[in-house]
Symmetry: C2
Subunit: 292 residues, 2 copies
DNA sequence: GTTCTGTCTATTGTAGATAAAAGACAAACG
DNA sequence: CGTTTGTCTTTTATCTACAATAGACAGAAC
């Protein structure tokens, strides 16, 4: 087992969806473009489609023979990349399950638990270390620094610095910048979710990420944008394992976002700063409440 | 060749220095403590010392037989860890030698050039990616974003935000905080170097790093402190390959540091901000001048 | 009874191998 | 002539193996 073929499996599944909507597939390069994979993978997909009698493939002609059935798809567990699986396992361990700060992290043990080789775990830990939750002792183990109160305070301190700056930049964006249009779209989605909050409050998490990323992007600063990864991952898992009062919390955040968006649209720097601060303050409090 | 034994070689060299100053070595745990290595490595070192007839070793007694000679030491090239060697090779390529932004980085080629396996290069690139100079295309190559003007501007923008905040924190540190004493020491070294600037201006680079790190540390924020790694590495290599006007540049920076230090000691926030801004501004200009 | 040493085990760092995926090039097609 | 396909090469992602290093434990020495 060298490389996992998750790219193939995932692209194959997405191709099936495409296939159910047309009577013939496009050229290999075009298909590769659509699915975001190379021609090599496209050809592997086509080969499998042919074998399953989903299409009749002869050079340029790729005629659809039948609609795909559920059994044609690869199971979703097999389409996640190894990195995603490792991240999920790891985050569950440290955020959900009683992981004490100071605890040692063992590459071999983690690898065995997840069912992968040590290399992948190691690379994950290296990538993950920039989130400030773990630290390496060279030639020795990793140390879990833990999702502590200090961590949350340090994270939000930088977040506030960055977001205030980004928000001010945003407000100064020229009239014709596409970000304004994107903001309008996001605003509309806020209103839609709020209108049906009881059923749709779970959709907030994803919208939250899109909104703040849009704001951070206008900083045009790679360090600020990259830092948003840290915030996003923390809030992502935090939302996932901490569902107490989710409805009220999200409703409140949506309202704050709308005020924040209105402030941005007013282009009044004072107002922007005020609305931004208010929202960040309550986001910080929410996060802190979930930490013992 | 699995692991390199650079830890052993480096610790051995440092042990020789120790050895030339005493007539007998301490216990294994104590030696390990001093050299910062495990007992396993200490015992390997002692074994080699014995073999070279540098000491007579029998259990607790470790009598020095003769002073180490230059030929006893391992050559310095062999004591650098693989990671350090990779970093140097890589930085030379991208900072010193015409590396165009957008260029592809090939793991295999880099590994061959440096003479290591791909695993180490790969891990280096992952670690290095947080510096914002390269970016990964999954399942494909890395892209060099380049040490461009934009990079320098984005870097210094964040640096200024962080350092202003840290400096303000520093000024508010309680009287008995050890940082004040450390600051005094650093101040004295500044004066010593300035007094003999023609001969010692090269020592500025290291002092600069120590000073700014001391300031950043008072933020008590891991993200701010960690970010200083990015600044440090950029300035480190920048100083190393860009020696035009080094003497004047460093003399000026030393003066600015002294003003900055005085401002910190005054604990007057206005003054601190002013001195800090002035120094950061000129640091930014220096950096920008070296970029075409 | 604390500290040290001898011995042993577990884990990390690195190389090398291999399947998956990307990508290059020329011939074939429209 | 610009795409598309067939074929081939190169590169990445991942596993496994193994030496270096860290670390544990019991008995020896002070």
């Amino acid at each position: 087992m060298a490389k996992q073929n998750t790219v193939f499996k995932d692209a194959f599944n997405r191709c099936l969806a495409l296939l159910s909507e047309t009577s013939a597939l496009p050229s290999e390069p075009e298909l590769g473009q659509t699915l975001g994979v190379s021609r090599t993978t496209v050809r592997a997909i086509l080969t499998r489609c042919e074998k399953l009698k989903l299409i009749d493939w002869d050079k340029r002609s790729k005629v659809v023979l039948r609609s795909p059935e559920p059994s044609d798809y690869f199971p979703t567990e097999e389409t996640d990349s190894l990195a995603e699986r490792i991240e999920r396992s790891f985050m569950r361990r440290i955020l959900a399950g009683g992981a004490e700060p100071g605890m040692q992290i063992n590459e071999l043990e983690l690898a065995r638990e997840i069912g992968t080789g040590t290399t992948s775990v190691r690379e994950f830990l290296i990538r993950f270390s920039r989130f400030g939750l773990i630290e390496k002792r060279p030639n020795s183990h990793w140390v879990l620094k833990g999702f502590t109160r200090d961590f949350a305070l340090e994270l939000t301190e930088v977040r506030e610095m960055f977001e205030l700056r980004s928000a001010a930049r945003f407000a100064a964006l020229p009239e014709n910048d596409p970000a304004w249009h994107e903001l309008k779209t996001i605003e509309a989605e806020h209103r839609q979710i709020l209108a049906d909050i009881d059923n749709r409050y779970r959709e907030f998490s994803e919208l939250d990420e899109r909104f703040h990323l849009l704001v951070h992007r206008s900083s045009s600063n790679r360090f600020i944008v990259d830092f948003y990864d840290v915030i996003a991952i923390v809030f992502h898992y935090h939302y996932q394992w901490n569902k107490a009062n989710a409805r009220e919390r999200n409703a409140r955040a949506l309202e704050e976002h709308l005020a924040y968006i209105a402030a941005l649209q007013s282009r009044d720097l004072k107002q922007v700063e005020q609305a931004c601060r208010r929202h960040l303050k309550s986001a910080r409090e929410t996060l802190l409440q979930s930490i013992p």
